[in-house]
């Protein structure tokens, strides 16, 4: 299931629901990404996440299909927040169920690399000093390229 949502969600609660649905999965890997609280003079006060309604969801679904073709995963869940987020709030939660752990780890890792670099979101950091759009880190692109040689 893929969900782009504009209200807060509870990863613990979602993991529990996922467990119940993915009852044939012996291995479940989850990833939770949150707005990092910063300890400096000009910390991020809020993160504004924008998406392309409909299109963002469709493009994530296409990535998820790729993951399902590459690994024998039994179930997946992707939740991605949009709108205004406070430090500490969950941004993205990915859950992958599979028979064994290796494929669950790899598929979750793969989905996250794509969500970070290719999924259609724009992120604006809002600080006391002003607001600025964030572009992906170089490391994120390096991570994503790991999958094209396999």
């Amino acid at each position: 299931m893929i969900c782009v949502c504009d209200t807060p969600f509870d990863p613990g609660h979602e993991l529990k629901a996922f467990e119940n649905k993915a009852d044939a999965a012996g291995a479940i890997v989850s990833f939770l990404g949150r707005v990092r609280p910063e300890a400096n003079d000009d910390p991020v006060k809020a993160l504004h996440l924008e998406h392309f309604p409909g299109v963002t969801q469709k493009s994530i679904e296409a990535f998820a299909v790729q993951a399902c073709q590459r690994w024998p995963i039994t179930q997946h869940l992707i939740i991605h927040r949009v709108g205004m987020l406070a430090p500490g709030e969950p941004i993205v939660f990915v859950c992958v169920g599979a028979a064994h752990r290796r494929e669950a780890f790899e598929a979750a890792d793969f989905l996250m690399d794509y969500l970070k670099t290719k999924a259609i979101f724009w992120k604006k950091e809002i600080r006391d000093s002003g607001a600025r759009w964030v572009e992906p880190r170089g490391q994120d692109h390096v991570d994503t390229q790991r999958w094209s040689s396999k």
Binding site: E50, V55, A62, K116, A119, I120
Partner: protein, 83 residues
Amino acid sequence: MARLLFFGKLADLAGGRERDLPLPDTVDTVDAVIELLASEDELLGAALNEKSVRCIINERIDNTPGIVSDSDEIAFLPAVSGG
């Protein structure tokens, strides 16, 4: 009348997320649309010409031939950053 959509920093430059624009018959490619916009707003034109900007026509994520007509929705997407 084409419907233009601007996202992320492009919306800031375009002064809004949406704009309706009548396309002359000679404007039938994305590049020509960008040229038309650039003729009115140099800064916006430069931003749209950045290599990282993608264009999605009528919400088709699978193919973007770059051909447009006056009834299309033309979305301009700057470099993405999720998660």
